[in-house]
C-alpha cells in the first residue's frame, strides 16, 4: 500500500486565495458560533462553536442521529441555522454567495446519470460565470488530479464504486474550494479502495492547502486523515471532545503500532 504523500508542484492550487486575502492573515477558514437547529419540537443542534484553521483537516464523529449531517448541511450554506453565525475566511456570511469557495461532497456520489464523467465534473462550474474555455481546462485538470482522465467520456453506470467516488471528488475540486466538506464520503467503498481514496485526498490537500471537514463513522479513517477529531453527542447535538492529532506523524499507516493504538483509543471512547 502506498500511503506516501507526495508534494509535487501542481498547476492547481485552490488554497492560495484564502491565505492571500489582504488583512486576513491566518483567520479561521471556517468559524461557527452558537449554531442551533430545531426540527419541530426536537433540538437537533444546541449551540455549536467551532473554528477550523486554513489547511486543517477535521473529522466529525459521533453516534448516528447526533446531527453530524445537519451540521455539515449548515456549514455548506444549504440549510440555514435557527441561531448562530458562520464566518468564512474571517468574514461573517450574509448570503449564500459567500459560500462560493465551499464545496460539499454528499454521502451519495450523486453523479447525474445522463452526463458523461467529464460533463458531471464540469457541472461543478456551471453555476458560476466561468468562461467555457477555462471551464474545459479546469475540468480536465480536475479529472487528471483524481486519475480519471482516461474515462472522461464514460457514463456513470459504467464506473466502479471507486471511480464514481473519484468523479464526485473531482466535481467538488473543480470549483477550487477553499473548504471541502464531505459527509461519509468513502463509506460505501471496500477497504482497499477507501484507503486509496484517503491517499488521494491527502495528496490533493497537501498540494492545494484547502481546508477539509468530513464526517465519518470509521475511526481508522478519522485517525489516518485528520489533524483534529471532534466528537459530538446527541440530545441535543453538541461537541463533547476535540482530539488533536497533529502530533501523530504522517504518513499514517493503520497497521503501524502508534497509529493502531490511536485507533484503538478512539474506539474505546465511543
Amino acid at each position: 500500500m502506498n500511503l506516501a504523500v507526495s508534494y509535487r508542484s501542481s498547476p492547481y492550487n485552490p488554497g492560495h486565495a484564502v491565505l492571500g486575502m489582504p488583512g486576513i492573515g491566518m483567520a479561521p477558514a471556517l468559524a461557527v458560533s452558537g449554531i442551533a437547529k430545531h426540527f419541530g419540537q426536537q433540538t437537533i443542534l444546541g449551540g455549536i462553536d467551532l473554528e477550523v484553521r486554513p489547511g486543517e483537516i477535521v473529522a466529525l464523529i459521533g453516534p448516528s442521529g447526533c446531527g453530524k449531517s445537519t451540521l455539515l448541511n449548515i456549514l455548506s450554506g444549504l440549510l440555514p441555522p435557527d441561531a448562530g453565525h458562520i464566518s468564512i475566511g474571517g468574514a461573517r456570511t450574509t448570503g449564500f454567495d459567500d459560500w462560493r469557495r465551499v464545496a460539499y461532497m454528499f454521502q451519495e456520489d450523486r453523479l447525474l446519470p445522463w452526463r458523461t464523467v467529464r460533463d458531471n465534473v464540469s457541472f461543478g462550474l456551471e453555476g458560476s460565470a466561468v468562461p467555457r474555455g477555462e471551464r474545459r481546462r479546469r475540468t480536465a485538470d480536475a479529472l487528471r488530479l483524481v486519475g480519471l482522465d482516461g474515462v472522461a467520456t464514460a457514463w456513470p453506470h459504467e464506473l466502479s464504486g471507486g471511480m464514481r467516488s473519484r468523479a464526485a471528488l473531482a466535481r467538488s475540486l473543480v470549483v477550487q474550494p477553499a473548504v471541502l466538506l464531505m459527509d461519509e464520503p468513502f463509506s460505501r467503498l471496500d477497504p482497499q479502495t477507501r484507503s486509496q481514496m484517503h491517499d488521494e485526498v491527502l495528496r490533493i490537500q497537501a498540494d492545494s492547502g484547502m481546508t477539509v471537514i468530513f464526517v465519518t463513522h470509521d475511526m481508522e479513517e478519522a485517525v489516518v486523515l485528520a489533524d483534529r477529531i471532534i466528537r459530538l453527542a446527541p440530545h441535543p447535538g453538541r461537541i463533547v471532545e476535540a482530539l488533536e492529532m497533529e502530533d501523530l506523524p504522517r504518513p499514517r499507516i493503520p497497521t503501524e503500532p502508534e497509529v493502531a493504538e490511536r485507533i484503538r483509543q478512539l474506539r474505546v471512547r465511543t
Binding site: L112, T116, L125, H157, V175
Partner: protein, 264 residues
C-alpha cells in the same frame, strides 16, 4: 451483415409476400369495389401522385396535425411542470385529467364541428384535445420523479432556479416527455383523419371520405398504403434514431419507459 439481421430481413420479406399473396387471391374472388387487387391499388397510387391536389392535401393535413401537436406540446409541458411543482394544483386538477382521458376523440370531433364548423380549427382542436392530456400526464409523471438530491446538488453549486429547471428537471423529464409526445403524435395523426372526414373540405381525411362516397375503394387503399409507409419512415427514420441518441446514457433501461395512458 450479422446473422440475426439476415434472418430478420428474410422473415419480414416472407411476411410481406404472404400478405400480398392472400390479398391477391382474395381480390381475384371479390368484386374490386370491395377488395381491389394490388395492381389496381398501385395504379391508384400513381394517379394519386399525379393529381393536382395531392401535395396540397398532404401538406394541409400535416400543417393541422403539427399545429395541434405543437400547441399541445407547449401547453401540456407547461401544465405538467406546474402540476409537478405544486401538490395543491395537482390534487385540484387531477379529476380534470381523468375526464380528458376518458372523453373519446370522436366526441371532441363532434364538439369541434358544433363550435368551429368546417374549418382548420376543427382538426387542430381535435388533435390538441387528444395530444395535450397525454403530454401533460407524462411530463407531470416525469416531474414527480425528479430527485431532490440532484436539486440540492445543483443548489450547492450555486445554480439559479432556471438553471436547475434546465439541468436537472429537463433531463429527468425528457424520457417521459418523449414517450408521451410520441404517443400523442401517433394518436393526433390518426384522429386528425377522423376530424377531417367530417370537418374539412380538403386534406387526407377529406379525400378518404370522398373516395368512400364515390366507392373508389382502390383510392382508399392507396391512401392507406401511403399513410402506413409515411408512419414507418417517421418511426424508423426519425423517432427511433432520435431516441437512441437522446437516451444513450440509459443503455440498459430503455425498455422501462413509462407506460402511458390509453385514449380513444
Amino acid at each position: 451483415m450479422p446473422k440475426h439481421l439476415v434472418t430478420l430481413v428474410a422473415q419480414r420479406a416472407l411476411l410481406a409476400g404472404v400478405i400480398l399473396l392472400l390479398w391477391w387471391i382474395g381480390a381475384s374472388r371479390l368484386p374490386s369495389f370491395v377488395l381491389p387487387g394490388p395492381q389496381k391499388v398501385a395504379q391508384a397510387l400513381v394517379s394519386l401522385w399525379d393529381s393536382e391536389t395531392f401535395a396540397l392535401d398532404i401538406l394541409t393535413t400535416c400543417r393541422r396535425v403539427l399545429l395541434g401537436f405543437g400547441i399541445a406540446t407547449v401547453v401540456g409541458t407547461v401544465l405538467g411542470l406546474a402540476l409537478g411543482a405544486s401538490r395543491l394544483l395537482a390534487r385540484f386538477f387531477e379529476p380534470m385529467l381523468a375526464l380528458f382521458n376518458t372523453v373519446s376523440s370522436a366526441i371532441w370531433a363532434i364538439f369541434a364541428i358544433i363550435w368551429f364548423g368546417i374549418s382548420d380549427t376543427t382538426t387542430v382542436f381535435v388533435v390538441f384535445m387528444t395530444a395535450m392530456p397525454l403530454i401533460l400526464t407524462n411530463v407531470w409523471q416525469g416531474a414527480q420523479t425528479v430527485e431532490a438530491q440532484y436539486v440540492d446538488l445543483a443548489r450547492s453549486f450555486h445554480m439559479s432556479p432556471p438553471q436547475i429547471l434546465l439541468k436537472i428537471y429537463g433531463p429527468t423529464i425528457l424520457p417521459y416527455f418523449f414517450s408521451g409526445a410520441r404517443l400523442a403524435f401517433g394518436f393526433g395523426w390518426r384522429v386528425s383523419l377522423v376530424a377531417e372526414t367530417i370537418g374539412a373540405s380538403n386534406g387526407i381525411g377529406y379525400r378518404l371520405r370522398q373516395a368512400a362516397d364515390l366507392v373508389q375503394t382502390d383510392q382508399v387503399f392507396a391512401w392507406t398504403v401511403l399513410l402506413v409507409g409515411l408512419m414507418l419512415v417517421l418511426e424508423g427514420g426519425v423517432l427511433k434514431p432520435l431516441e437512441r441518441r437522446l437516451f444513450r446514457w440509459k443503455a440498459f433501461s430503455l425498455s422501462s419507459r413509462p407506460a402511458s395512458l390509453q385514449t380513444n
